[in-house]
Amino acid sequence: MMKFGNLVVAGIVTGSIYAVFAVCVAVWYRVSNILNLAVGDFAMTGALGVDYLSRVENWPLPLSILATLAAVAAFGYCYDRVVLSLAQDRLRRHEGIVVTFFFTFALSFFIEGIAQILFGTNVHAAPALWPGNSLNLGGGLNIVRAGILVLACAVISGGMFALYIRYTLSGKAIEASGENYLGARIVGIDTRRYRRSIFVITALLAAIFGIVESPITGYTYISGAVISLTGFIAAAYGGFRHPARALVAGLAIGVLEALLGGYVSAEYGDTVMYAILAALVLARPRAMGFESAVSN
């Protein structure tokens, strides 16, 4: 029983990592109809950037964090201004699968390439923000301190995005941008501004998350791709457009992964999990939210 409890706790911590990225993917897809597969790379940049500045350059920790976040925000802004504007705002918009997958795939490669040059190929992590041993929750249950921060981060960001879209006027405008780009522009919604601001906000969120989370797992320059992929899968199970569902899906995948790793096989746990996930899509596509994601 203790094993089960600890696995669930560990699963929730891992799951909240996936959940945050799923939320980021879902929110931006809702605005722009583009899947952001570079979110994980922003997290990696956050973690490795802070590590580099504080450990190698000996900057104080708060300054390192601020500088890294500023760099991520500036990069996100420039990327939207240059690449996405060229791809989306010209007379002939790029539509369909090219936009959906490829621009952010390429961005992910690009960021990883830069990170390789700047930070090298070793495993690093930002300094722990809440140092100390694992907390005992009683009854033999343990949770790492960073895990609590991670979970809090996930719930707060997911909840805020869900409330924002549901209850505010600009949230509605965001929804309109994704539903019908041209229609939204005609009624006076600046879709470009929303696309840009949400892109920068999700990049920042991912970076903060990477800084908070990295003491648990440690990052290399290519860690981002795996996280993005799991976040993408979790977002898919939330129908790509619903941050709250994406959050739940991310947590569920994390718990499933931990339980399979603990009870089935440490070696093949992930393999079994992916098989289960694939089976779910195929057996119940509608219930998993896929019909709404496919726009014809």
């Binding site: 090219v98 390439g113 898919a236 790509f240 694939a278 195929l282 596509p285 496919v294």
Partner: protein, 626 residues
């Protein structure tokens, strides 16, 4: 050299299938020349590797590019081919060349099994379901000891066994090029055939394709098998030329590099797919710095190429060639430029309209010509279409509420109602794209409620949709021919053997003649004005000579003369077949139809003649707001 470059760009034009023999000849000749010229140098090994990947990307162009079936399974089957060949060679001493067909057959079988489950999904669901495959495969491969675990597996057998390393390198290179040539030939034969045209239609929209009689589940499965077999051939060639199967050959990163090759080259072009593999491999082998920083380079490369043209290198080459020709000929060459060239389109349309001034009259004269093809004279008294208590709920929302209506074998019928009344949903239920929550649909007395759209098509049902779904890159004639293919029993393999496109094109030409649109038949569809595109869709709907024609807002976006033409044609068609149209233009409905149905909040609130329609208080309050 100029001749060669012209040949290359002509074959590379995205969206158009190149002639199989010229395309294959080009690939094989260029491939052999470079392999034999550079075979003994470092560049030679890079080229052979690039041709190996090109075998895989050619299959991807058919599956992902033309048919828009985004499946992330290529690296898995490439790995299967490579590991399979290595195992057969190491343990059974089978030469790698002989192992290749064995692993291809094995992959084909596995793909058939896996595909029959996976290809039930479409769109993003298919992408998400298949993205698990490389993840599962990586997990398996990296912990399987007999495959060399996370390192990989060496083997001894070259594709070509010879005494000297020079001969081995040359032989390996030649075999790789021949394998690529074979794959290119098969792919372009398929794309040029009637089955290939179905794949193009599948790539536009699955729902529309099904409504034109295309058996979408079957085609998707066949594509999955084809792509997988090509990928495993690529894998076997990889094993036989590199003599080592790295574990990284399988997995999401490998999957991405394959996709990058395809998209850099141009996803809707066979030559483009080959060129993409060459370009990416050449760039990665170009210098020490590049191979260390390959991620950065690939990321920047694909961003730049896609920004310049979403159709990749093939698109860039085609545009450059079109520009060049334009400059050489002056403005006269404009009509040949693919893409929206509305000025030329309008001119040609005007000429066409002038030539077809009496199209409606012509239609009326030849009214008996358009009798339904499959007209098993339904027994007297049996209505052609019967909807009995059809309901459709989405959650708690009743979009259709117990709608019952019957239509006889001939005549023109209108379906009206305010926005959101359920008109398009009812059309969807009749056409088979929407399954009703309750009620039955009968066609000529046969219950078709459980039938797929493509099965209903073969029972004589044909329809148009609100939005225009045409195949860009193909001509008007081919777009109309899609609905005359009747290839439901042909397989992709039949497409390799021969094409029955000719018959379908003849039927399509008849339909275009009937509508007075013959002048447009050679034009590429995206160069037409929107109204001409709608008329092409209409031609496509009537070309198979349906018993029941379902039209969703056929007059939307049409000009006044075309509206008149349309109403003339509908008058004529109504004499021989049954036409049901959803339309907002009440004047047009009252003018054309002989009986009108009105829906409101999913309920049938009125049915009657145009005269009754004009006088009805219900109709006036609902539709005119009085």
């Amino acid at each position: 050299m100029a001749g060669l470059s012209r040949l290359v760009t002509a074959r590379m034009r995205p969206g158009r299938p190149g002639a199989p023999l010229t395309t294959t000849g080009l690939v094989v000749v260029v491939g052999l020349v470079v392999v034999l010229a550079f075979g003994q140098q470092y560049a030679g090994s890079v080229l052979v590797l690039a041709f190996t990947y090109a075998i895989v990307t050619t299959g991807m162009a058919v599956q992902i590019g033309f048919s828009q079936q985004i499946a992330f399974s290529q690296s898995v089957f490439m790995g299967l081919g490579a590991y399979g060949a290595a195992l057969l060679n190491t343990h059974l001493n089978l030469p790698t060349l002989a192992a290749a067909p064995v692993v291809m057959a094995g992959s084909g079988l596995l793909a058939l099994l896996l595909g029959s489950v996976v290809t039930r999904a479409s769109g993003l669901a298919l992408a998400v379901a298949t993205i698990m495959l490389p993840l599962i495969a990586t997990g398996y491969v990296s912990s399987a000891g007999y495959l060399g675990g996370s390192v990989g597996m060496p083997l001894a057998g070259n594709l070509w066994q010879a005494s000297s390393p020079e001969l081995i390198a040359a032989g390996n290179g030649v075999i790789t090029v021949i394998a690529l040539g074979l794959v290119v030939f098969v792919a372009s034969r398929i794309l040029n055939s009637d089955v290939g045209l179905e794949l193009y239609a599948l790539g536009v929209d699955e729902r529309t394709a099904a409504s034109m009689g295309i058996s979408t589940p079957r085609r998707k499965l066949e594509l999955f098998v084809l792509g997988s077999m090509f990928a495993s051939l690529g894998g076997a060639v990889y094993a036989g030329t590199q003599l080592f199967v790295p574990a990284t050959l399988v997995g999401s990163a490998a999957e991405l590099s394959l996709l990058i090759m395809l998209f850099v080259g141009g996803r809707r072009s066979i030559i483009g797919a080959v060129a993409g593999a060459l370009a990416v491999e050449y760039v990665s082998g170009a210098s020490e710095w590049v191979s260390v920083n390959i991620l950065l380079v690939e990321g920047a490369l694909i961003t730049v190429v896609l920004l310049v043209d979403p159709e990749g290198l093939a698109g860039i080459a085609a545009t450059a060639r079109a520009r060049l020709r334009e400059r050489r000929r002056g403005s006269g060459g404009l009509a040949e430029v693919p893409g929206p060239a509305d000025t030329a389109g309008a001119a040609a349309d005007a000429a066409d309209a002038a030539g077809a001034a009496g199209a409606a009259g012509a239609g009326r004269l030849r009214v008996t010509d358009w009798a339904p093809a499959s007209a098993p004279a339904s027994g007297t008294g049996v209505p052609l279409l019967e909807c009995a208590g059809v309901s459709k709920d989405y959650g708690g929302l009743h979009v259709l509420d117990a709608v019952s209506l019957t239509l006889p074998a001939r005549g023109r019928y209108g379906l009206c109602g305010p926005n959101g009344a359920g008109k398009s949903t009812l059309l969807g239920v009749i056409g088979g794209t929407v399954s009703p929550s309750a009620g039955r649909v009968l066609l000529g007395g046969t219950d078709v409620t459980g039938l797929q759209p493509q099965q209903r098509f073969y029972l004589g049902m044909s329809r148009t949709f609100q939005a225009v779904h045409l195949i860009t890159g193909r001509t008007v004639l081919d777009n109309v021919a899609v609905s005359c293919l009747r290839s439901q029993r042909s397989s992709l393999a039949a497409g390799i053997a021969g094409s029955r496109l000719g018959e379908a094109r003849d039927k399509a030409a008849e339909a275009l003649d009937y509508l007075g649109m013959r002048g447009l038949s050679g034009r590429e569809v995206s160069s037409l004005t929107l109204e001409s595109q709608r008329m092409v869709e209409f031609a496509r709907a009537i070309a198979p000579r349906p018993r029941l024609l379902l039209l969703d807002e056929p007059a939307a976006g049409l000009s006044e003369p075309q509206r008149d033409r349309l109403s003339g044609v509908l008058h004529a068609l109504g004499e021989v077949t049954c036409v049901l149209l959803v339309e907002h233009d009440l004047g047009l409905v009252a003018q054309i139809t002989e009986r009108i149905f009105v829906l409101d909040y999913g309920r049938l609130v009125f049915q009657g003649s145009p005269a009754e329609f004009n006088d009805s208080a219900v109709v006036n309050s609902l539709l005119i707001g009085q």
